[in-house]
Amino acid sequence: MSMTIVMITQNRAVVMLDDFLWRAALAGVAVALASGPLGCFVVWRRMAYFGDATAHAAILGVALSLGFSISVFIGVLITALAMAFMILSFSGRVFTVDTLLGVAAHGGLALGLVAVTFIPGVRVDLAAYLFGDILAVGHGDLLIISGGCTVILVALWLRWERLLLLTLNVDLAAARGIDTRRENLILTVMLAVLVAVAIKIVGALLITAMLIIPAAAARPISRTPEWMAVLAVAVGVIAVLTGLFGSFYWDLPTGPSMVTAATAIFAVATLASLSRMKSRH
């Protein structure tokens, strides 16, 4: 009798283990699928600091969600959007974009960290939101993450050519009848959605890294924008799975181990292309 119970619990443990690992892997791959092509635009349009500001504001969103007991996704999405629009509307007025983004990125993060301490009751595990906690992705989380990533991918698919032309030359895009303000807005919203769904996977501090590093690693081995996007996805998927592995077996922080893996791929790709260029000359 007691033997059976033990066996049952063991089986359930095995099933559960499989279950949460699968959830983590699926959520991570979904984020990599969306952040690959979106990250290419961040690189092409030099929006790295903009991404940082938006992502750092997410911590403030976490504080607000916990304070008002609403979904973390909603809270983060709202603050990320608010931050993005604030930057867009203020940039170039009094300060240069660079300075404004510096203030927004670090101010947003600091304000979020301070705000979290004011939340009464439960002590918040901030590390999960700063560095990600992929193993804690629940069923509901997986649904929201894959939903958000699907929205981003579909939007990118539909607007790819327009966004490319807009990135290359705003006036040329306008001459073709493209509503440049609307496309910029859509890109900003996509970035905010990605921040909201990726915070559990990589954490607020390293979301920008997962946008930029896979795209940068893909650059030297691509000939067209499309190839760069596809290869960025590949690099992202490898990085995410490596991070998951590190998290599970060695209890490493998820976000940092993913970003470390992506950086290693970046280094190899860059060195390989440099040596190839040298041998050609």
């Binding site: 690189v43 092409w44 327009r162 290359l168 006036d171 001459a175 440049t180 000939r223 924008p225």
Partner: protein
């Protein structure tokens, strides 16, 4: 819509009347009247900050005018050649992919246009690896793919050496003759402009003077802006910013 301009003969493809543009607190353009007729090469010259690029942006629909209006012939196809692309090493982009971007995908047409502007051998190369002259030709090729009635170019020869400048303008004239399109461009190459344009607009926030190249180069407003010795390359950028005109003067030199 078509209409006959003041001279009574030229049919305008596109026409601006009483055009004014205010950006922030700055009045960049005021009272600009400008029309481009079929197969006409119209060139806008003027010092830096005189509103040349803004004027082109209004014509291609990238900037809404604050005053006045731009009237286009119905169904007018505009091919725009920008000054530069925000392209650097960050984006991989072959010439072939550039031509296909956001428009005509027909490879046969790409090959034909590439041949016309002399970049057939470059289709597989990266845009960022092209020389200045080759890059401008690749930009032009994309504008030509829409079979434009009006080709708009913003300082197409900036940064090119004299030889490349001369051959680029030759190409533009050839394109005009082949396609029968009109050309509106901003240029700094005064002596080439004077040779290959039908109509020259001298701009400095407003139209200082306009007319045939000969009449414009003889106009006192033009000479005040660019110096007298416009044939010599060294005189190109010598201009005075503190000059003034009154409206009587402007009317006097309008020798269209």
């Amino acid at each position: 819509m078509r209409w006959v301009s003041g001279e009574g003969l030229v049919v305008s493809l596109i026409k601006a009347q009483g055009l004014g543009v205010r950006i922030g607190a700055r009045q960049v353009l005021r009272d600009v009247d400008l029309s481009v007729g079929k197969r006409e090469i119209v060139t806008v010259v003027g010092p830096n900050g005189s509103g040349k690029t803004t004027l082109l942006r209004v014509f291609i629909g990238a900037q809404a005018p604050s005053e006045g209006a731009v009237v286009r012939e119905a169904g007018l196809r505009v091919g725009y050649v920008p000054q530069r692309l925000a392209i650097d090493q960050a984006m991989p982009l072959t010439v072939a992919r550039w031509l296909a971007l956001c428009g005509i995908k027909d490879r046969q047409q790409h090959l034909q246009i590439a041949k016309q502007v002399g970049i057939s051998a470059l289709l597989k190369q990266q845009m960022s690896s092209l020389s200045g002259g080759e890059f401008q030709r690749a930009l032009l090729a994309k504008a030509l793919l829409v079979r434009p009635d009006l080709l708009v170019l913003d300082e197409p020869t900036q940064g090119l050496d004299q030889l490349a400048v001369a051959s680029f303008y030759q190409l533009i004239e050839g394109v005009r003759d082949d396609l029968g399109c009109a050309v509106l461009m901003v240029s700094h190459d005064l002596h080439v402009v004077m040779r290959s344009s039908d109509h020259v607009i001298c701009l400095n926030g407003h139209v200082c003077c306009q007319g045939t190249p000969t009449s414009v180069s003889a106009a006192p407003e033009y000479q005040a802006l660019f110096g007298f010795d416009t044939e010599g390359a060294l005189a190109l950028y010598r201009h005075e910013h503190d000059h003034r005109h009154d409206h009587a003067e402007q009317g006097g030199s309008d020798a269209g």
